[in-house]
């Protein structure tokens, strides 16, 4: 009797221990996994893909190319403001957008304000320290033709343990020469989140 009890205790302890071990499961980046119901990578990717496809198919690109002496528009990413009720990392999503637009080969991208400051510092440093034939001169930067800005908005409708989440992402491409909005993209996401009323 004693022995079997001891064995049972040992087994239980083992079971408890194995339950505590960290488990890692690798997922394909395209599988949608929703844990808390908040904004996640799936939303970010869905929105950026839709935006890119939409923006490249619109007439502003053709129109710009049609102008005399112009081939590819230079675009800069301005601020994507998070006006939602969640702390959202907007960087992943603007970077997705930027990458897809550059890789499409149809537009040029200009470095952002922060990046430009770093590059200018580097050029200043080159002026002093680099060999003359490898030196890059100041004042030869490519000015952007368009600026991409956007907002993420949410409407939340809570009721008891259910929440209806509505995300609206708006992106606008503005012509820097005359403030004209040449493209407006919008993507909506709706989610119904039901919270468990009970836990262990």
């Amino acid at each position: 009797m004693r022995r079997s009890l001891r064995a049972a205790v040992a087994l239980l302890a083992l079971a408890a221990l194995s339950a505590c071990a960290t488990k890692v499961e690798r997922l394909d980046t395209s599988t949608a996994v929703d844990l808390s119901g908040g904004w996640n990578d799936t939303d970010s990717r869905a929105v950026s893909q839709e935006m890119i496809q939409d923006s490249l198919a619109r007439p502003w690109l053709q129109e710009f190319r049609g102008r005399p002496g112009q081939s590819r528009p230079a675009v800069i990413v301005g601020e994507v403001r998070n006006l939602s009720h969640e702390h959202i990392n907007v960087n992943t999503f603007t970077l997705d957008l930027e990458r897809a637009l550059i890789n499409s080969g149809k537009v040029d991208f200009v470095a952002t304000k922060q990046e430009r400051l770093g590059i200018r510092d580097e050029r200043k440093d080159q002026d002093l320290n680099a060999r003359a034939d490898t030196r890059n001169a100041m004042g030869k930067e490519l000015g952007a033709d368009f600026m991409l800005t956007g907002t993420i908005n949410t409407i939340v409708d809570p009721n008891g343990n259910q929440q209806l989440l509505f995300y609206q992402v708006n992106m606008t491409l503005i012509s820097l020469s005359d403030n004209r909005k040449v493209w407006v993209g919008q993507k909506d996401i709706r989610k119904l989140v039901t919270r468990s009323k009970l836990r262990f």
């Binding site: 808390s36 403001r81 998070n82 009720h85 969640e86 702390h87 939340v156 836990r199």
Partner: protein, 448 residues
């Protein structure tokens, strides 16, 4: 035989329970000492030695987040308070296991998620952290979350609760929206704050803050709500106030002073022998003890201009009134628990009524052990966010652009200067700078 083993086994059980039942509040004395000596870093170091039990994790994070903020580590404070917020979200579902434990052992076995006001305070302090770090959009997220929290609360509450709205949270949201240039949202938030201050004057004795009066008039004017602006002017007897355009030509400093500490929960208990059964009965209930709140107001002054703070939140009163409202439920649960524990002790003690004297003795011993265990584990839930300030005061000071050396003076009820400090600040046109000051009196004794 079984009873014998059980009796022997119950003794170490009682010992384990005893050590496990030291409630969270027992571990905080050195932290309090550090705070009273105006050494938040020492208080934080003392507090970080606490190893919280699983149900106390959120409380630990709340306190740690506040102590980090007091020590000036805003980034880490924000991270910690965000963790606390996430913890609350995960723990909001009802746990049947914990409910059963709270009836069988005591209320302190339940996971702490804080009272409503403590949850709102997490958002408020995160918003202040973001504002002071210049992250206006992140503060706006907190304002939206607070709105959601208060809306959900309003849906849930059936009976009239003294804390149905958080006036300061509404006011702070209004300030955030105004800073964003979202006039209509700011107007709505200021209005909600106005309603809340009016409604809660009686229960929390916080008068309408002076600054809010001017904010309401300014925003109503900006929105072109002539009728409403006139009403505010008459109600507050204010003729002259800065217009939004004039305010945007200058910069503004928004000072919050976080004074004193929130009341502390103590246990109030009664232990009586029941002569009819020979067993002991015990009931333990929580009770708030307020601390001294000596700050009357603070003044913020440059060479040319100055502003006085108004009290915007009385956490002391909110905490006490919230517990008062919950007391009937807590008491009912404590009585049910006492009855349940007594029934179990009676059942354990009646095991050997067969006439066998050794079995009788064992049963009586077992009954006694169960009774003692039940009595010893009867503790009140004295967990509360004790590093919250007792009161929050706020001042707004508009200044022309330039570099300033500003003096912050804290004054007591008798105009006595409690503390002075200086800040250097550069103000640009149309910019708002958020500054806060935590101040805790040296004398932390609780009122009897």
């Amino acid at each position: 035989m079984f009873a014998d083993v059980a009796a022997k086994a119950s003794l170490p059980c009682v010992a384990v329970c005893l050590t496990a039942c030291a409630t969270f509040s027992d571990t905080i004395q050195s932290t309090e000492r550090g705070l009273a000596q105006q050494q938040p870093k020492a208080a934080l170091a003392a507090y970080e030695k606490v190893k919280p039990a699983a149900p106390d994790r959120v409380l630990y994070l709340m306190n740690k987040g506040m102590l980090l903020r007091m020590s000036g580590d805003y980034a880490e404070s924000t991270r910690t308070l965000e963790q606390a917020k996430q913890g609350i979200e995960e723990l909001r579902a009802l746990s049947l296991r914990e409910q059963a434990l709270s009836i069988a052992v005591n209320d302190a076995t339940k996971s702490f998620i804080g009272e409503d006001f403590e949850r709102v305070m997490v958002n408020n302090y995160l918003a202040l952290n973001y504002l002071e770090g210049g992250q206006l959009d992140a503060a706006r997220v907190e304002a939206l979350q607070v709105d959601l929290l208060l809306r959900e609360k309003a849906q849930k509450i059936a009976a009239a609760s003294p804390y149905a709205e958080d006036a300061f949270a509404r006011y702070l949201s209004g300030i955030v929206y105004e800073d964003e240039g979202e006039w209509s949202d700011a107007m709505i938030a200021y209005r909600k704050a106005y309603e809340a201050y009016k409604k809660q004057l009686k229960s929390f004795s916080v008068a309408m803050p002076e600054t809010l009066k001017h904010d309401l008039i300014r925003l109503a004017d900006r929105m072109g709500l002539a009728e409403e602006a006139k009403r505010y002017r008459e109600e507050f007897k204010i003729d002259q106030t800065l217009s939004e355009a004039e305010l945007l030509d200058r910069g503004e400093i928004i000072l919050t002073v976080h004074a004193g500490l929130a009341p502390i929960k103590r246990e109030r208990s009664t232990t009586v022998p029941n002569p009819a059964t020979g067993r002991i009965l015990r009931i333990a209930l929580p009770q708030y003890r307020s601390r001294a709140q000596p700050l009357a107001y603070a003044s913020l002054s440059s060479d040319s201009a100055s502003a006085k703070t108004s009290r915007v939140e009385n956490i002391d009163a909110i905490a006490v009134k919230t517990l008062d409202a919950e007391m009937p439920l807590i008491t009912a649960r404590a009585i049910a628990r006492m009855a349940a524990k007594d029934t179990v002790a009676a059942a354990a003690g009646s095991g050997g009524s067969s006439g066998n004297s050794s079995a009788n003795t064992t049963a009586a011993l077992l009954g006694l052990a169960v009774n003692v265990a039940g009595v010893l584990t009867e503790r009140a839930d004295t967990r509360s966010w004790f590093t919250l300030p007792g009161e929050i005061h706020l001042a707004r000071l508009a200044l022309p652009p330039g570099d300033y050396k500003l003096k912050i003076e804290l004054r007591g009820r008798d105009e006595r200067v409690l503390d002075t400090s200086e800040i250097k600040i550069a103000i640009r046109k149309g910019e708002k700078k958020y500054v806060s000051r935590h101040w805790i009196p040296t004398n932390l004794e609780v009122k009897p």
